[in-house]
Amino acid sequence: MTDTPPRPRAPRIAFFPLGDRALVIELGGRVSESGAALARRLADAIEAARIPGVREAVSAFSSVSVHYDPARMKAAAAPDQAGIGPYQLLQTHLQVVCENLGEEEAAPGVLVEVPVCYGGDYGEDLGYLALAHELAPAKVVELHTRPVYYVGMLGFMPGFPYLVGLDQRLVTPRRATPRPSVPRGSVAIGGQHTGIYPLDSPGGWHVIGRTPLALFDQTRDPPSLFQAGDRVRFVSVTPERYEQLLAGAA
């Protein structure tokens, strides 16, 4: 066994066009908590830089996509940059942001405790999941509440967190046929991820429980309970407690 000395993190940052009005920054490496945190930090730094023509920066598992208006980017260019295209102009700006990002570790994301009522009417696939993995339903709950997950990205619908850190014993392919309607607050497993449905919607993940928390509220700022890089722990609650919390939240 060899001890590798700690090295400064030097992610391989690479730029690629995402069509003619967006660009993607790939951070290299695999999906990891530090990768997601770096993506979040880079996206924040890009937005804070207020580069003329940049509409927004969106972080995902190990990448950041930057949406921009080529005409505004070009209009804001210095006179000696007349021959340079919008993509190249943006990349030059972004390289500066990347260099200034510094080497310090991102602060760990906020830890959010999520109360979940598992099984029964609240999680109708808990029994199926237990059978499929030859585990007792209580064991599934135990395995699901044990880890501290992190939010790799938000996507699929407003406020939907893709949580990373699922116990390998609970990894389950998505349902062959998506359900036409999954109630809001449903806590579900899809492939390597667990997630929570913020709104009633069709869905192909296995629903094992439900939380009374409101994940998305357009009148809040920010509207989403979670941001990429945040950490999440599930806490099992009784149906009575679930209903109490739901009534309290309303």
Binding site: P17, R21, E56, S59, G155, M157
Partner: protein
């Protein structure tokens, strides 16, 4: 003042240039499908280009107007009529209070945009007036128009075109409009197949050369299960030569992604914010209005272009719109 909805049409929604800044929370950008027609309609009535317009789809709505209204219609031809008389497209039209404004079925293309001077009186939600249907967010009550709705419009300066105002005052006509019209981009309204250009994307090289050539040389058709979120294409399948698992990442308007069945999908205005399928590339911004006007069954071919060429074309389109803006400002005062 308001538009009273007598018929809703198939899918009539309030849209603007999109809800930017919230994709990090999983909120789709939404916004108009055909940005060019939307912007042109706004310019014609003296609005900011980002003002909300009404996007109509395939079969248009019918209204009565509660006040004199300066409006413009651009995009596909829905045979619009005011009190039974043909309403000309792509120009400012001043319509008298109490008139009936009717949009019929669309003959070619599939979307038209109605701009009213001052814009529609709906609130900003997360910075935008666009309707996101699946999230019941923004626009008019988060949904498409329904019969009986009273769609408010904001106060506007009708004196932008003094000659139209005079004509309406001095005659009993239901509407007044100039004889000129702005130039629209009408490629989509002609029979296809149309050439849709794209910039090659991250996973283009994962496909064997033969598959890439097939994609570039084949005709695709817009599938009937296409909507504001995505266009499903019918044509030769694209099967990757390498393992096709990719880490989910951001997508954009025009991203051409390929799910496991190999049938390409083009992501449109109401796309999700991220995607986990391999991407062939992105349709160029200058060609998105054309694609957005293609109804189910329309035929298209893809052509790869370099990024620099795509952006040069986009900048040229922007200059065209800017010139139109200036020309109209000069016409408006007469």
């Amino acid at each position: 003042m308001a538009l009273k909805v007598l018929r809703a049409g198939i899918l009539s929604t309030i849209q603007d240039l999109g809800r930017w800044g919230y994709q990090r929370f999983g909120v789709p950008v939404s916004g108009v499908m055909d940005e060019h027609s939307h912007r042109l309609a706004n310019i014609l009535v003296g609005n900011d280009e980002g003002a909300a317009t009404l996007e109509m789809t395939l079969v248009g709505p019918g209204f009565t107007l509660s006040a004199d209204t300066l409006l413009a219609v651009c995009g596909a031809d829905f045979e619009a009529r005011v009190n039974g008389e043909a309403l000309p497209k792509a120009r400012p039209v001043l319509v008298r209070a109490g008139s009936a404004l009717d949009f019929g079925p669309c003959r070619r293309g599939c979307r038209a945009y109605l701009a009213v001077a001052g814009g529609f009186g709906v609130d900003l939600v997360l910075g935008s007036r666009s309707t996101f249907l699946r999230g019941a967010l923004g626009g008019w009550q988060g949904r498409a128009l329904r019969r009986g709705d009273l769609l408010p419009t904001r106060d506007a300066d009708l004196a932008l075109y003094p000659s139209l105002l005079r004509k309406l005052r001095e005659t009993r006509a239901a509407m007044a409009h100039p004889s000129w019209a702005a130039t629209e981009r009408v490629e989509a309204l002609m029979p296809g197949p149309h050439l849709v250009r794209f910039v090659r994307g991250r996973h283009w090289n994962r496909y064997p050369e033969e598959a890439r050539e097939t994609f570039l040389s084949s005709e695709y058709r817009v599938g009937s299960n296409s909507d504001r979120q995505a266009y499903r294409l019918m044509g030769p399948s694209m099967i990757a030569s390498e393992a096709s698992d990719v880490v989910s990442a951001g997508v954009t308007f025009g991203t051409i992604q390929v799910p496991p069945d190999g049938e390409p999908i083009v992501l449109m205005a109401s796309r999700q914010t991220t995607g986990g399928y391999p991407r062939l590339g992105e349709v160029i911004a200058a060609d998105l209005p054309l694609l957005a006007q293609m109804p189910a069954g329309a035929r298209l071919r893809f052509q790869a272009v370099e990024l620099a060429a795509a952006q040069a074309l986009l900048l040229e389109r922007e200059r065209e719109l800017a010139r139109m803006h200036e020309a109209l400002a000069m016409r408006a005062c007469t």
